[in-house]
């Protein structure tokens, strides 16, 4: 059993009946991107985040975002050390390998933005000093749909920094019943086996970056991305960062399928998760229509 399959098998003990979402989440981690899990409360977002952290064997912290959370609560503060008569930096919860930002959109945009630099640069600047974050560093954020009360919309710049967005959705009846019969996910969490280590994960991430993507494949990817920018289908098209992310995610997807090259189908598989939170469709079905319309082979 390969490491990937094992990881997925272990994870599915905690989150039952959601193999596709688990694959996406793992794909995002392998691609080295940050993950956004979005759904209404009680769907197992936090459980998934916990599970991931646990299985990967990463040290992790969790911040419960609230409306009065301040940037310093995330990044850390300098406190005066009376003994040494000097300021001493007290690192915040962001200094960890896996940061679980729970209900990220309950905090104010200002606090949300405090995560920006950490997520993009892998470092934190406090009081003019850049402090590197440990490697690997991920943010797994959960978010409630914006329509729920007490939420602030995430700024687009922040949304763009999440590689993928996973929506869990209601479990199917069989999975739900199994859950009701068995133990609650949270309890199972504690018993989850650690499958990977941080070094392990970094090696896998390294391999993912070396998955082959041929010219023809990049052409297709590029056609897809520019198609989001043309016409009036979307409010605004995908950014180059999104294009890079799409490629990484496709590589990770191909890797998880045991291939050493990327196929157009890999791009199509990750495209909704990568593009979904970055594109605002003006009409319904924007993304699935786009995938159906952009020619894969580019013969015409």
């Amino acid at each position: 059993m390969s490491l990937i399959d094992e990881t997925l098998a272990v994870l599915s003990q905690a989150i039952t009946g959601k193999p596709q979402q688990l694959r996406q989440a793992l794909c995002c981690v392998l691609a080295g991107g940050h993950l956004l899990i979005e759904d209404v409360p009680g769907m197992g977002k936090t459980t998934l985040a916990h599970g991931l952290a646990k299985v990967m064997g990463l040290n992790w912290r969790r911040i419960q975002f609230t409306s009065d959370l301040l940037p310093a609560d995330i990044l850390g503060v300098s406190v005066f050390d009376r003994n040494r008569s000097a300021f001493h930096f007290q690192p915040g919860p962001v200094f960890t390998q896996l940061l679980l930002a729970d209900e990220i959109n309950r905090a104010t945009p200002r606090t949300q933005s405090a995560l920006l630099e950490a997520m993009e640069e892998g470092q934190v600047s406090v009081e003019g000093e850049s402090r590197p974050l440990p490697q690997p560093f991920f943010v797994i954020a959960t978010r409630n749909p914006v329509t729920q009360s007490g939420t602030f919309p995430l700024p687009e710049s922040q949304l763009d920094r999440f590689l993928m967005r996973v929506q869990l959705g209601y479990p199917d009846p069989a999975a739900e019943k199994a859950m009701l019969v068995g133990e609650a996910g949270r309890v199972v969490l504690d018993t989850l086996k650690q499958v990977m280590t941080a070094e392990n994960l970094q090696k896998l991430q390294d391999k993912v970056q070396h998955i082959q993507a041929t010219d023809r494949l990049l052409d297709y990817l590029q056609r897809l991305v520019s198609a989001t920018r043309e016409g009036d289908r979307f409010e605004c098209g995908l950014s180059p960062r999104a294009a890079l992310g799409l490629l990484s995610a496709s590589r990770a997807w191909a890797f998880m399928a045991g291939r050493d090259y990327v196929l157009p189908e890999d791009i199509q598989a990750v495209f909704p998760a990568v593009a979904g939170h970055r594109l605002q469709s003006r009409r319904g079905g924007g993304i699935s229509n786009l995938l159906a319309e952009v020619d894969v082979t580019g013969a015409e």
Binding site: Q212, T214, R216, L217, R259, D260, Y261, V262, L263, P264, E265, Q268, L291, A292, E293, V294, D295, V296, T297, A299
Partner: protein, 674 residues
């Protein structure tokens, strides 16, 4: 696209509603300009076809059976034959075509019928051009053509796609693409004289000069604002009072009517009518005066139904295709039934016929034996006073016209049998025909040779060097022969109404208000309104250029143009070479458009895979645009398991070649499979 059709398919596919409707619209559009040409019954047939078809479109009533159709065909044929006495000829042909179109439309069931009707429609549209070639007509028929092209496109539109916009757009693109080809063919295809005689429209109803003149008739001509001809001068346009365009010379007077005379008249003075026309290139048998002609110009003459070619002043030599008459006019060999272009140098002031032959003198002195006694008496009195002083006598008569109560009018009173007496002594109201007729009568009665000249006087300069003459510029004046001098032009109208000669008919009858009476819609009537007049002049300039550059582009124009461009006498080889060259260019452009070599060339693996996809599509599984190779092969395996093995093999090769690590032999393998 049309000629490689499967006949079974064509006969089973019905015509779409949109196509039927457009074909109906074409029928109505095309019939409208032919309205005045077609007999009533044919119009009835058109209406029947349209109404019946519309009812069918609303799924009411049933299609006409063969009995009804046969009856209609027989009726239409009988009616056309009854009306024209033939199926050939312009009007009869047009009526036959329109009837055929209507009947076929009525019968139309399958797509093949629709195609036939559309093709017939192209012929019917062109029919309209035989009756009018003006710019608005051209544009109108272009619209009809566009509709027809769109119908052709629409007939082949898949049935699940509706909406006229893509059809019209495609039709328009096709039309625009055809445009350069049209221009090339128009310019280059060698113009040859027609192989058969085209029957011409019936000109009996034409307004214009005729070869005879009764006083009342001229006023009729003056009520028409139709174009008579346009002249383009190489040099300055002569001033209004010099613009006397000679067309007819009338010698014979029967007491009421002046005419140029038939052979019977001329045999009275002992000459044959052939004798006083000298056809090009022969030299006239009479003395031609020397000297340089004053004017040099091109004329585009509208169809007149008469052989006269108006010429400014006397002409001294014939041009190709024409004859010079003894009285220095130009005649065409045939009646002018199509627009005719000619270039002349003419207009010598003096020296014509210093010596008058006896027969011509006799003709120029001819008068009926009896009638108009008062005029004859006046002539005798004048002759007694002036003796041989011709100028004095003419001057005296003109003075009489000027000083006594003579009026210039477009509404002359009716005259009895002694028309000249009645005019000179009683009514004293008349038009140019009255004055010139009376003057010639007086002069002849006094023994002075004189003749009536019919033609045009004046015209309007619409552009530098371009003079436009309309029917209401028709005019009659007099030529008097003086011993030792020859013929001299005398215009009695100038004595009565000098403004007629200086400024034209409109100002001459301004007070009377009779200018273009009844022609309310004629733009010429509103010359006083600056806006309308400006628009009219612009439009006339446009039409002049259209006529000069497009409609007059005949054999000679083509020859002239290419001789000027290439400096060679024989232009046919040039034309053929150019045609060949343009054919090659068009083919190259066409091929470039079809193959698009500027497109990035597909890698070979992609080409083979496309071939595979096309093969699968023929077997009923078409690859969707957004379908990756793996998803496609999965679908093939699911839907057509018998193809699965091959498809999986080819796809795996292709995937390795396009996306993965290809092995060296993969491409050859793929090539062999596809």
């Amino acid at each position: 696209m049309i000629f490689s059709l499967d006949h079974k398919v064509e006969q089973s596919v019905p015509v779409t509603r949109a196509a039927s409707f457009s074909l109906l619209a074409v029928l109505v559009l095309v019939t409208l300009p032919l309205f005045h040409v077609l007999p009533f019954m044919v119009l009835g047939l058109v209406a029947t076809a349209v109404i019946w078809r519309l009812l069918l479109l609303r799924t009411k009533g049933c299609e006409p059976g063969w009995i009804i159709l046969t009856i209609l065909v027989v009726l239409a044929c009988l009616q056309i034959f009854n009306h024209y006495g033939t199926f050939l000829g312009l009007e009869a042909g047009a009526a036959t075509l329109v009837s055929a179109y209507s009947l076929k439309l009525l019968e139309m069931r399958c797509r093949r019928d629709g195609l036939l009707v559309a093709f017939l429609g192209f012929f019917v549209v062109v029919t309209g051009l035989l009756f009018s070639q003006s710019i608005p007509m051209m544009l109108y028929l272009l619209v009809c053509l566009m509709v027809l092209v769109s119908v052709l496109v629409g007939i082949f539109q898949p049935r699940d796609k509706t909406g006229y916009k893509p059809v019209v757009k495609f039709g328009a693109i096709m039309a625009v693409q055809a445009l350069p080809l049209t221009v090339i063919l128009f310019l280059l295809v060698p113009r040859v004289p027609p192989l058969w005689v085209v029957p011409l429209p019936d000109n009996s109803a034409k307004v214009g000069l005729s070869d005879s003149m009764a006083p009342g008739e001229f006023a009729e001509v003056s009520k028409s604002s139709k174009l008579a001809f346009r002249a383009t001068f190489h040099g300055a346009v002569p001033p209004p009072k010099e613009r006397y365009w000679r067309a007819v010379v009338m010698y014979w007077f029967d007491g009421r009517r002046w005419s140029q005379g038939n052979s019977g008249d001329w045999s009275l003075v002992g000459v044959n009518t052939d004798q006083f026309v000298s056809w090009y290139p022969g030299n006239p048998r009479w003395a031609v005066p020397g000297g340089e002609p004053e004017f040099d110009y091109d004329v585009i003459l509208e169809p007149s139904g008469q052989p006269f070619l108006p010429v400014l002043g006397p002409a001294s030599e014939a041009i190709a295709g024409t004859g010079l008459t003894r009285d220095w006019r130009l005649l065409d060999r045939e009646k002018v039934d199509l627009r005719k272009q000619y270039r002349v140098q003419s207009g010598l002031d003096e020296g014509y016929d210093r010596v008058l032959p006896d027969w011509l003198r006799a003709a120029s002195l001819q008068l009926p034996k009896v009638g108009n006694p008062r005029t004859r008496k006046l002539a005798r009195e004048l002759k007694d006073v002036y003796r041989d002083d011709v100028s004095g006598l003419v001057f005296k008569i003109l003075q009489m016209f000027q000083q006594e109560e003579f009026y210039y009018t477009l509404r002359p009173p009716k005259l009895d049998a002694n028309s000249v007496d009645g005019f000179l002594f009683d009514t004293r109201r008349g038009f140019c025909a009255h004055y010139s007729g009376a003057l010639v009568f007086l002069l002849r009665a006094a023994g002075i040779p004189a003749r009536v000249i019919g033609g045009y006087q004046g015209g309007e300069v619409i552009e530098k060097g371009v003079l436009q003459v309309r029917q209401f510029d028709a005019h009659a004046w007099v030529e008097v022969w003086q011993p030792g001098y020859g013929w001299e032009r005398v215009d009695p109208t100038a004595a009565v109404a000098p403004e007629r000669v200086e400024e034209g008919l409109e100002s001459a009858v301004a007070r009377e208000g009779s200018f273009l009476e009844g022609a309310f819609l004629s733009p010429s009537r509103y010359r006083g309104v600056p806006l309308i007049n400006g628009l009219r002049i612009h439009y006339e300039q446009l039409e002049y250029h259209w006529q000069r550059m497009v409609l007059s582009y005949d054999e000679n124009a083509q020859k002239g143009l290419f001789q000027r461009w290439f400096g060679r006498k024989n232009v046919i080889p040039i034309l053929i070479a150019l045609l060949g060259a343009s054919f090659v260019v068009v083919m190259v452009v066409f091929m470039l458009m079809a193959w698009k070599p500027w497109r990035r060339k597909l890698p070979p693996a992609e080409r083979y895979y496309q071939r595979f996809c096309r093969r699968m599509a023929r077997k009923g599984i078409k690859r969707e645009r957004g379908e990756g190779p793996k998803a496609y092969v999965r679908r093939i395996s699911r839907e057509k398991p018998e193809l699965s093995r091959e498809a999986v093999y080819i796809t795996s090769l292709y995937i390795r070649l396009a996306y993965g690590q290809a092995r060296s032999e993969d491409l050859n393998k793929l090539k062999r499979c596809c």
